[in-house]
Symmetry: C3
Amino acid sequence: MEMSVKQIAQLVQGTVLGDEAIMINQVNGMAEAQADQLTFARDAAYVRQLADSQAGAALVPRGSGTLSLTTIEVDQPDLAFFLVLRAFADQLKNPPRAGSHPQAVIADDAQIHESASIGPFCVISSGVRIDEGAVLQANIFVGEESHIGAGTHIYPQVVIRENTEIGKNCIIHAGACIGSDGFGFVPMDGIWNKIPQIGTVSIGDDVEIGSNTAIDRATFGVTRIGSGTKIDNLVQIGHNVIIGKHCAVAGMAGFAGSTTLGDQVRVGANVGFSGHITVGDGSTIGARSGVMRNVEPGAVVSGLPAIDHKKQLRVMAAQLRTPEMLRRIAALEKQLEALKEIKDDETKDNS
Amino acid sequence: MEMSVKQIAQLVQGTVLGDEAIMINQVNGMAEAQADQLTFARDAAYVRQLADSQAGAALVPRGSGTLSLTTIEVDQPDLAFFLVLRAFADQLKNPPRAGSHPQAVIADDAQIHESASIGPFCVISSGVRIDEGAVLQANIFVGEESHIGAGTHIYPQVVIRENTEIGKNCIIHAGACIGSDGFGFVPMDGIWNKIPQIGTVSIGDDVEIGSNTAIDRATFGVTRIGSGTKIDNLVQIGHNVIIGKHCAVAGMAGFAGSTTLGDQVRVGANVGFSGHITVGDGSTIGARSGVMRNVEPGAVVSGLPAIDHKKQLRVMAAQLRTPEMLRRIAALEKQLEALKEIKDDETKDNS
Amino acid sequence: MEMSVKQIAQLVQGTVLGDEAIMINQVNGMAEAQADQLTFARDAAYVRQLADSQAGAALVPRGSGTLSLTTIEVDQPDLAFFLVLRAFADQLKNPPRAGSHPQAVIADDAQIHESASIGPFCVISSGVRIDEGAVLQANIFVGEESHIGAGTHIYPQVVIRENTEIGKNCIIHAGACIGSDGFGFVPMDGIWNKIPQIGTVSIGDDVEIGSNTAIDRATFGVTRIGSGTKIDNLVQIGHNVIIGKHCAVAGMAGFAGSTTLGDQVRVGANVGFSGHITVGDGSTIGARSGVMRNVEPGAVVSGLPAIDHKKQLRVMAAQLRTPEMLRRIAALEKQLEALKEIKDDETKDNS
């Protein structure tokens, strides 16, 4: 696939300074881009670095002026770049063939839309429904009575256990496990008795789930992921967790059972949530935090335990000074002792 | 499946206040339960909330008295609820068909009990033994000479490498990898030389292993998980780790090589263990701790480094006050300086 | 397989004290080794413990003298033991049969060397190249146009997405996912818009990748792992991360997008890297650290935020003393107040 600089400028509503005829066949970073590739400069500092780039053309902020290479001036170079990237990516997509591979094992009573694609070594259990245009690439297991919504793309080695509901246009990356038993046991006489996990998992529309992420089914009721939420790799979501809509959860975050997140919450990498807490709409949790209490809507928190992020920054700075603090306290004690001795001497003198 | 309130009361040795004839077909939380479902109230505070529940009946503590809905009074509502949940779950279970799916690949010399169930796309290698009633659902790999005990249930996409021993009645969740090489290398001249990992993994009876958990084989000797131990999702267990009996290990915990745990140890989420340490029987490790030294039997520890949990709580509280401490130290220094100046002035005055 | 003590001594260039004719068929730890097994003692302290060992023979440091069991004196017992372990392991290896299993699905235009081994239920997509002696054990997915170098061994349930380059003599453990989409979204009006991930992953030679590790493809450009680098289980490597040569990355470490590591970097367990930072050659990052800034070549850092390790040890020690510091500050304040009161009294007295 190729686009001319002129075509790209039309796509991003930009103004060309230089050669409109240059053909672009890929996008790339400033340092890597070649003569047939487009790059971008977010701001004036990056614009200056373009002098060293081999790129055929660059998206730059309006008012950057004539540079050593052809540029397209736009309001927001990063958003414009995203649009071009998406255009190239759409062209790359090879729509998979509709139908079921002869080496898939599909239950007689599974309902699979004729436009769906089921790849080799998939196992589709009894009562499963798979809707229009869904793609199950290969080596995927779908348990009894589960439902995969229209347009959802599932990569290889994914497991979807029984009675799971997956919405439309979701993307589930390789190795994710959805609907495994929650981790629940009743201790009796030193033995852990398994609490049956008879609930389900329900995932909304436009959800993305990362590689090797695990989302457990509810003990009873539902573990729920809201529409538009994006979850990175190696995330652990315990039984009965509720995550709202349009949240973003970075890699290796962990949610203990019955954590509840509102909508549009941003969760940093490797954050841990204690169970049975509520995290308000629009809040942000800094990377590697341990959230042990409810979080207010809109709050920005971080640390272990997670507290207001600005306060946490002050705490972190002060904690690094604890060795200095010990020295200063010892010095104070010594000086005070000296003062008291003088005082005692004076008192003796005066007496 | 349905049970009457009367039948449930018999199961949990409870006393009905209200309509014994109500038919229950599911259990659920107080807020979600419908007219044909049973819920429970752990204590008096929850009993008061029952007024708002739509549940058909509720398990309540003895002495709760007549309420707006039918109740079953019991000694311990949560344990009683667990028993009912288990009864419903047992009914749900669809015993898988015995025998091997035609699309499984099974070595000629593998010994598979006639009551075991081997699903599609499983690979059973040479010398493997699979005992009575074991279930291997689908897309599972079992390496040479491994042994799966009676009644063990293995979910899809699990890998069990060669020479692995799995006991009876275990549950291994989707995506777990058991018996991969330990992470061991000898550095020579800036190159990492692989230490062959020729040991094995041995897992006792009644062990549960979570989704996408990784348990590495020993360098030599055995990586061992004791009977009755329950391990959550995304846990990393390094080579030559020994975990005792009836331990509980929460999600994302990590055990470096040659960590040794006693029996009935409780490990919180995302705990990390340095290698070559010993953790005593009955100890408890708080979530997100980093255990760098041996832990005494029965100890409760937390933090990084993990120390006595009560002490850690005081440390955490004090650490949050480090910015205040800096201010107080500065104030003390200023005041002391002022006092000394007065003193110096006095000394001068006196001289 | 068996080797005599004499043969072992020749292999490790050691000197036998005792019975050269003893036949050894395995290596083991001091406590576990039996009469037909070899163990080792790293130093004098361990040599003393050999008195309690049942081992048939032991590798010991030169000058250890005659002991209760047959010994082989060598310069470095641990390296010698590694050599013997490798000799036993090489013998154990059962070279897999060349050729493709009839139950693998292989695209017509895939180029698979005749000496390569493709196991059951593997899916090899269009345009894939698999070189001499590569082994794909079972249930493995390889996406379009990917390349697997000579001698590389891939364990079951691995996913290698399209356009991925894997070098020679790599080992990829069960459940690893290579080339999944990076986690990148553009927020617009409260919605996360997926940034297409059209880049690739390139892995050098002699790389080892642990079980259930996830390595994401670049947004554009390449996510790169240098030759000789060893990565443990459950590691998360984000889009556009660059890891140099001969690095070692312990389990559960996480790399946010565009982290760049130099060569021979050692990364401890559960370390997290912020994105867009550079970590210098030969540096060492202590376990559970959070690296938020660039790290100098050769530096040893730890903690959250990661700072110089020696400084961090002092900080950690001081932080544990924060409750004591609070008490000492309060005592100082009280004493100073008392002093000031005396002073005020004196001033009054004097006035």
